[in-house]
């Protein structure tokens, strides 16, 4: 068992820089999710752990060992690809056995390991079929099976669920999480789906344009996003952003058409910055209808209802104040009329304040 460490890692294709100065410390037995928009370099980072991409600069360590020059097969890792990459001409059994046989594992041991892995994943009855004869979900299991059968020190997943339909994805998400808890194997999991990131990872590493934005537990990242990008990326529907200025010696946040008082808990951030331009972030669940119980200090605002999206357990209300649009989560039984003016309550202690110029969280 081993952790994975990135030390000032860079990846460049000639002049083009894909990843720069990546520092990331993945603990032993940890489930780390790399998440970010398409093209941000998360697959590249994962493939550098696997040894499928050369490392242009810095070090990658697995356990205590620097693996920059170590061949993939000697890194004691296993990888699950988005396309599953099952060997189409081999049966499922042969797929699972392939790595073991190449490593000259005795046949009795091979049989035992394959049986064990197949049982864990519930694919024992499929062993004599070819990959073509399996459903997408079954192939997915086989791909995971091929990874766990060798009992490697690190699992690498590259968007393993993105080819599955929504329902199956939720199911497999839970299964992979359970599997990791059971096997206690260090796991690096790449996804662009922030729900997967939130639900699966012990910690999340958010990336953008080849740079690490924030690393933390799902809750930390959700509650304390370190910049505008992370705040916008994590959470559905995304956080509301309003441009504003700090006024009245740091006691008021003034937007174009409305103002919010600064709660006592946040005064230490605003008082020293009187007159500064900020971006205020408010999560939709922190804007509610007045009937709902709230936490901490609150303020009331009036907004015009543009769109209402009923989701069953709640209604998303898109309401505007001047040019600013806010999304609020409202009780389904109190769904407002379109174009009416409604009262909305903002939970002030959950406001997120970002510097308008640097886009960083005020701290």
């Amino acid at each position: 068992m081993a952790g994975v460490v990135f030390e000032k890692v860079a990846k460049r294709y000639g002049e083009v820089s894909i990843i720069e100065g990546l520092n990331l410390d993945i603990q032993d037995k940890e489930f780390m999710v790399l998440v970010g928009p398409s093209g941000c370099g998360k697959s590249t980072a994962l493939r550098m752990i696997a040894g499928l991409e050369e490392i242009s600069d810095g070090h990658v360590k697995i356990g205590e060992r620097v693996v920059n020059e170590v061949a993939p097969k000697d890194r004691d890792i296993a990888m699950v690809f988005q396309s599953y990459a099952l060997y189409p001409h081999m049966t499922i059994r042969e797929n699972l056995e392939f790595g073991l046989k190449i490593r000259k594992t005795p046949q009795a041991e091979v049989d035992r390991l394959v049986k064990e892995a197949a049982e864990i994943l519930g694919i024992s009855h499929l062993l004599d079929r070819k990959p073509k004869q399996l459903s997408g979900g079954q192939r997915q299991r086989v791909a995971v099976g091929r990874a766990i059968v060798r009992k490697p020190a690190v699992f690498l997943f590259d968007e393993p669920l993105s080819n599955l339909d929504a329902k199956l994805r939720v199911q497999m998400r839970a299964e992979i999480t359970k599997l990791q808890q059971r096997l206690q194997t260090t796991t690096v999991y790449v996804t662009h789906d922030q729900v997967e990131a939130m639900t699966m990872g012990h910690r999340i590493a958010v990336m953008k344009d080849g740079k690490l934005q924030q690393v933390g537990t799902p809750l930390e990242v959700y509650e304390q996003p370190s910049n505008l990008f992370v705040a916008a990326f994590i959470g559905t529907p995304p956080m509301n952003f309003v441009k504003a200025q700090i006024r009245n010696e740091g006691t008021l946040i003034a937007a174009a058409k409305f103002a919010l008082p600064v709660p006592v808990k946040l005064r230490h951030l605003t008082v020293p910055r009187d007159g500064a331009n900020v971006v205020v972030g408010i999560r939709p669940e922190n804007i509610v209808d007045p009937s709902k119980p709230t936490r901490g200090e609150t303020a009331m605002i009036q907004a015009k209802v543009d769109i209402a999206e009923p989701l069953g357990h709640e209604v998303l209300v898109y309401a505007s104040i001047g040019d600013d649009t806010l999304v609020a989560k409202v009780d389904p039984h109190r769904a407002p009329q379109l174009d009416s003016i409604v009262d909305l309550v903002v939970e002030l202690e959950s406001l997120h304040l970002f510097d308008a110029a640097t886009e960083r969280r005020l701290a």
């Binding site: 990459a85 001409h89 392939f98």
Partner: protein, 367 residues
């Protein structure tokens, strides 16, 4: 009438008739060849039409009562002078009853009536049935003599073996080199990759005959491999490899890179990946290239005729030419030989059939 599925059967009838006619037309030339081969003769004709009977003195003496030899000679002479018959005695026109007597010397005109009768017999046009027989690809008599003779009287067995050896060697050499080269072109980037691929493509632009002179210089003068099986194998491999490389490269391109990466992580060496993952998946393309290489070596004529100047080193196509070239017109041997030569190709096609379709359409549809 309705068939089981409830469709009207009748609309299919014209289609079936059309298809049957089409098949007959398409297979007619082949049936012709088979018929000649099985006829035991050397003639190109399917059946011999009955010839007109020659008008001879003996015949006249026999058939006209009271006619003696001199009189017969005189009659034949008269007919010849009138250009009714040619020098072989074959009638050139249809004799009219009234014109027979004036033709003959006065003392012989008493024979005009029986003579006309006999001339009409000699005229005997072939019947419609005979004409039909002449275009039906069915031998008058079945005989395997042609097949026996090409092996017994002619060194055809030897030529077949030459062809087999050369074509097989070409296939093995060509497919091996094309697989490795195609894989390199598909997977690795190296200096000269584009130039190499382009030059392979460009080389396909020129007809093989254009390469005859340079190949002759290289193979015969430099390598001293003229009139040898190795030399011809080299030449064939050279001509088939460019196509094979492109074919295989195109197919390797469709094999996902992740498969190889998965195998790499599983611990496979590049050799194992190539032999156990890539090649088995490229089977259809390998089948196509193998067939193509084999056919190149098996069917080719011009280069074989140029490079093999000893009769015992002839390949089958060159040998076939031997049967009908120059002074010999042994179409029977030729047909029998041609059938023997085509059998291995037909068998190969049937054998590789399931790969061929997928191999040739590879990449056109994303699986």
């Amino acid at each position: 009438m309705k068939d089981k599925a409830g469709h009207d059967e009748l609309p299919h009838l014209p289609l079936h008739i059309f298809l049957i006619i089409f098949v007959l037309i398409a297979t007619y030339p082949i049936l012709w060849v088979v018929t000649i081969a099985l006829s035991g003769k050397q003639s190109l004709a399917l059946a011999t039409l009955p010839d007109r009977i020659a008008v001879t003195e003996e015949r006249l003496v026999q058939n006209i009562p009271g006619l003696n030899d001199e009189e017969a000679t005189a009659i034949v002479e008269a007919l010849e002078n009138a250009k009714w018959i040619d020098e072989r005695g074959i009638l050139t026109l249809k004799p009219e009853r009234d014109k027979v007597a004036p033709l003959l010397p006065a003392e012989l005109s008493k024979y005009a009536e029986p003579l006309h009768k006999d001339l009409m017999v000699c005229l005997a046009e072939p019947s419609t049935l005979d004409r039909l027989r002449a275009i039906t690809p069915w031998p008058e008599t079945f005989s395997l003599e042609n097949f026996r003779a090409v092996f017994r009287d002619q060194p055809f067995g030897r030529w077949i073996i030459n062809s087999a050896v050369i074509a097989t060697a070409t296939t093995i050499l060509g497919v091996f080199l094309a697989c490795t080269a195609g894989y390199a072109f598909s997977r690795f980037s190296f200096p000269g990759r584009r130039a190499g691929l382009m030059s392979f493509l460009v080389s396909q632009m020129f007809p093989g005959t254009l390469m005859l002179v340079p190949l002759y210089i290289i193979v015969v003068q430099w390598l001293q491999l003229g009139s040898s099986r190795i030399g011809l194998t080299l030449i064939y491999a050279t001509t088939s490899i460019p196509f094979c490389v492109w074919m295989l490269k195109g197919y390797f391109d469709t094999i996902p890179k992740e498969l190889e990466e998965a195998a790499l992580i599983d611990g496979a060496s590049p050799g194992v990946i190539f032999w156990r993952i890539v090649l088995p998946l490229a089977k259809p393309a390998v089948a196509v290239t193998a067939l193509f290489s084999f056919m190149t070596g098996w069917n080719e004529f011009i280069q074989a005729a140029t490079f093999m100047d000893k009769e015992e080193l002839y390949t089958a196509p060159v040998g076939l030419r031997f049967f009908v070239g120059g002074f010999s017109q042994q179409w029977g041997y030729f047909s029998a030989g041609a059938i023997i030569v085509s059998i291995p190709i037909v068998i190969l096609f049937l054998f590789l059939q399931k790969y061929l379709v997928s191999g040739l359409t590879a990449g056109s549809v994303k699986g």
